[in-house]
Amino acid sequence: MTPRARAAFITGFLLPATALYAVFVVVPVVQAFAFSLYRWRGISADRTFIGLENFRQLLNDPLVWLALRHNLLLFAGTSVVILALSLALAHAIGHDTRAARFLRSVYLFPQVISLVVVAILWMFILNPSFGILNAALKAVGLGHWAIAWLGEKPTALASIGAAHVWHALGFYIMLFSAALRTIPPDVMEAATLDGATGLVRLRYVTLPMLWAVLRIALVYMAIGAMNIFSLVFLMTQGGPDRATEVMLTYLYEQAFKNSDFGYATALAVVNFVLVMALSAGILALFRYNPQEGRA
């Protein structure tokens, strides 16, 4: 293929997507970045240039650090749970039992319904008076554990995490399910014949072969945890007393409650940079695939 023909081919194939993306995503994003250098109430077109003032304010804002902590906690907590559960379930779902077949049909349901429904559902489950969680706890005699899960500082964030995991799990089950199928069955057979038990197989066969997918999954979880918004917004509004405040809810508050669009955009910029950094960090950290170390 001549270089010119190749260039034409590449351009032709890339152009539609790139053009649409540039017009409707990149341009607004760049404009939004520009807004972070202004003081803008977001209610008229008037704005004042203030340079990096918003960023200076951001660094000194204790609530920003608090929100960030919550995002990272959510990432750490939910990713462990999601990884463990989705790998196990993806593996189990491949079998040909009745349970597995049934689960194959329904595991994506939480992903299919909107976050609004998820939030409402979990608010009802966690309701201190008549929620099913407390009802179940009381039924088994653990009534003193029946508290206001979303209303108490120690448990609010974890409750949000639970709802998030419930919603997100299906996607990762699907991802790992597909990935597990790419492992040649003869490799698995060989390992089993060699006497490797489940956990050993997991560590020395499954995980290495799934490395690329695991990396991507982790990046996804990071993005999801850093950008979490709807659940927190609907279930706790960042409360009680900011116990569940996350970057995006704080951002929303600055933009739409405090009419401080410039500051809010600065927060968005910082959040964006952090997400990129986190993703890059994960990709770099997990680049080394143990499998490639072997023959």
């Binding site: 649409l20 409707f24 995503v25 994003v29 939004a32 609004v116 299906g170 950008n227 959040n271």
Partner: protein, 273 residues
């Protein structure tokens, strides 16, 4: 044996944790507002079919349903081909600056949506695409591209090259090779990406909220959110849950229709590989 039982138990627990809440929503849709709070986990006394009627009227579901359908299908029709085309290039045709472009696509997934909404709004006003179904469709395509390109690129990277190379040797052009050989091979990935996009589009709320202001052009999530907030003020929880059921059912149904297909293609794709 023990392990197998544990696995089965684990599966059933998870399956139930998914199905029970949804069945609960269904059951709750038949209750009166008061019943929902006084006896939330019990059976409805008499099925309140009127809940569904009120939800249908209040949320204007028929009209919104069609809007959502048009926009979702329209978006997929544009998104999947051009997304696959771009992904194919990223996967198999490296060029200078490719990584930057790919990174640019990736970056789009990370920027929180509602801050681009105001500049985007201005843009649509200028293009005279505000409050139009085609405007919303194009915006949806643009915002769905990062995920689509990201996943399909990875997918294309794992597909075997031999068949394409054979076609090229046979004199087939690169583009033709893509449409005739690669794309069919990529069907499992495209189906999965398509399904996920469809679900996200069906439930999309913030963009639709700002872009579509007139009642006739609103999509289903706007209707449901409306319902949620209206019912919060009027405490017509029965109608709210009925509305939720009406909204969830089509998606769940479509998903149910395709569930085996998804699994089939995933397994088939893996076996071929």
């Amino acid at each position: 044996m023990m392990a197998r039982m544990l696995v089965a138990a684990g599966l059933w627990i998870f399956a139930l944790s998914v199905v029970v809440p949804l069945l609960w929503v269904l059951m709750t849709a038949f209750k009166t507002g008061a019943e929902i709070f006084t006896a939330p986990w019990g059976w409805p006394q008499t099925p309140q079919w009127q809940n569904f009627m009120r939800a249908w009227q209040e949320a204007g579901i028929a009209r919104y349903f069609i809007n959502s359908l048009v926009v979702t299908l329209g978006t997929l029709a544009i998104l999947l081909p051009i997304g696959a085309m771009a992904a194919y290039i990223f996967a198999r045709y490296p060029f200078r600056g490719a990584n930057w472009l790919f990174g640019a696509f990736l970056g789009g997934m990370m920027f929180p949506l509602f801050l681009t909404i105001v500049p985007l709004f201005f843009l649509l006003v200028r293009l005279q695409m505000l409050d139009t179904l085609h405007g919303l469709t194009l915006v949806y395509v643009a915002y769905s591209l990062p995920f689509t390109v990201f996943v399909l690129t990875g997918f294309f990277q794992t597909l075997p090259q031999e068949m394409v190379e054979a076609a090229l040797i046979d004199g087939c052009g690169h583009a033709r090779a893509f449409w005739k050989v690669m794309l069919p091979l990529a069907k499992p990935g495209i189906i999965v990406v398509g399904v996920f996009n469809a679900i996200g589009l069906w439930n999309e709320y913030p963009l639709a909220l700002v872009i579509m202001s007139s009642d006739e052009r609103r999509t289903l999530p706007l209707g449901i959110a409306n319902l949620l907030m209206v019912e919060q003020y009027q405490s017509d929880w029965g109608a709210l849950f009925a509305g939720l059921v009406i909204v969830m059912l089509p998606v769940l149904f479509v998903y149910w229709l395709f569930r085996d297909r998804i699994h089939e293609t995933m397994i088939a794709g893996a076996l071929k590989g």
